[in-house]
Symmetry: C2
Subunit: 318 residues, 2 copies
């Protein structure tokens, strides 16, 4: 990694955060900007919860629960237990330590501080060298159409355990949302060496970033290679509803199906070694490598492979 320059990663929660962590460890401090999905954000008990930002923060601060990939390691649950005694809602579980993030964020937002600044303050307090930027400071809320009607994302995902067939997705507020200026600046930076679309759900983690007006244009215009990493391995997601959701919405639950969603944006694509046969069938340049990230070494190795591949693509783009 003799190359210098900055990298922008687009990420949802768990899978994306793993690669973001790998990238952060393979780049000089301050060289990585992660654009986070805010489509999963919601208000619960009056608290503003940003699940993907939280997962990124915990992962990059080394505070994440290593087993489940989200939430804090060593979390306690006294709040939920007391809340149950008060007849409060139990469907969305808020850990005691995790609440600090939601309470602080809600408090600062109520003071008129934008989400991006609140997030920056948290990252500074936790000494996270990576910049985590919400795609927008304006609300973009993923909505899911099911046979029971339109549901808020968390209602579908957590409340119904992602079990209802998805008929359609919508992103409320997207049309009015303004892309975060810092995101556009990062994508236009002269020293940008790569844009990485992390192995996140393309429909509900990456799409709510891309639908923010101006975002696709900024990605298309940027001079660095845009490289996506497939979240599907052999047609299956490591975790979460990606595969079923893609099929439900008339797509193909394969690495190729994911690439089809990004096609106009991609300069290169990284798929799992299990899908190696697919490399030459894709409409986009691709490489196959191990993408499963079980250990920290896995995350660093994949980050290294993605950066090296972007470097090779950059050579051919000149």
């Amino acid at each position: 990694m003799a190359a210098t320059g900055t990298v922008v990663a687009l990420s949802g929660g768990i899978g994306g955060a793993k690669l973001a962590l790998g990238l952060s460890r393979k780049l000089p401090p301050g060289c990585l900007t992660v654009v986070a999905n805010v489509g999963d954000d919601f208000s619960h008990l009056g608290l503003h919860v940003s699940p993907d930002i939280d997962t990124l923060v915990y992962t990059l601060a080394g505070l994440a629960d290593p087993q489940q990939g989200w939430g804090r390691a060593g979390e306690t649950w006294s709040f939920m237990s007391a809340l149950a005694g008060l007849g409060g809602p139990a469907w969305f579980r808020l850990g005691d330590g995790d609440l600090a993030m939601h309470v602080m964020r809600t408090h600062r937002l109520a003071q008129g501080v934008p989400l991006s600044q609140v997030t920056a303050e948290m990252c500074a307090s936790l000494r996270i060298a990576t910049r985590i930027l919400p795609a927008s400071d304006d609300p973009v809320r993923t909505r899911v159409k099911t046979d029971q009607g339109w549901l808020d994302f968390q209602d579908w995902f957590v409340g119904h355990r992602a079990a209802l067939t998805v008929r359609e997705l919508a992103f409320a507020g997207a049309e009015q949302a303004r892309p975060l200026p810092a995101v556009l600046e990062a994508l236009a930076a002269p020293d940008l060496r790569a844009v990485v679309i992390c192995p996140s759900n393309p429909l509900i983690s990456i799409e709510p970033i891309l639908v923010v007006p101006g975002m696709r244009e900024a990605l298309a215009a940027c001079r660095a290679p845009v490289v996506a990493v497939s979240p599907l391995i052999g047609g299956r997601a490591v975790k979460g509803p990606t595969a079923a959701m893609m099929t439900d919405l008339g797509g193909v639950a394969t690495a190729a199906g994911v690439a089809a969603r990004y096609r106009d944006l991609l300069d290169g694509y990284v798929i799992d070694e299990a899908d190696r046969a697919m490399v030459n069938e894709l409409d986009v340049p691709a490489i196959a490598t191990r993408t499963l990230m079980l250990t920290l070494a896995d995350r660093e190795r994949l980050a290294e492979a993605v950066l090296a591949y972007a470097g090779r693509l950059r050579e051919t783009m000149r």
Copy 2:
């Protein structure tokens, strides 16, 4: 206790809650109404905290920490620890379980539900048979003038550990506050057998109740005897800043000094056996009995003594 009828108790936090618990156990379910001080209420990190209501709720629900008298037994502190990591304020400690109360209350208030109804909902969930009523649904906020200027009550009490000399007290919002109709109804109830002013700080626990317009008049007009229990024993408070505060404000830190504050309202007064010599020096009928409430039996015994005394006073008032 053959007598039937209802009882209204005026209470602040710890000491008052102890007697309220005793009363609740000596009266048939549903016969006790506790009017709670809201002068200590404040907004912290955007959460509405009602310390005295919380102490009453925990005490009457059997959830209170038996050592410190406030907060929940078996509390955990992950929130505060995580909050510190985020650079959040540490001066007011919010327990993990305790947060459930603040988050639920804040959420319901933001939905436009008045504090009295929120409190009633909590009491119902926790199966508390006693009615806990805030003195008012409108804000009444105790302010403390010190040599450093005017401070919010919690800033003085917790932030400065009640160490700054009190020059003056004020109750912001009191003039505009409306007494809770249910409190006035309880005080005018035909079956009212006693009003008990609990052994709380007269200046910052009971006064913010009495300053609500109409409250003193309702107490003066009620046909049942009004009996106060002194919070001072031998010139000392069991807990808290009562004695120092009374001296600071030019009063006398004795049971007599407390009675002077209530004089126009009292039909009878209960002082500690340690102050027995004072019984005949008071301007108000009084009895002396053990008022220190270390055990549950102490609370029940004092409650019984107060109710019996009120019964005797009721006879003489006829």
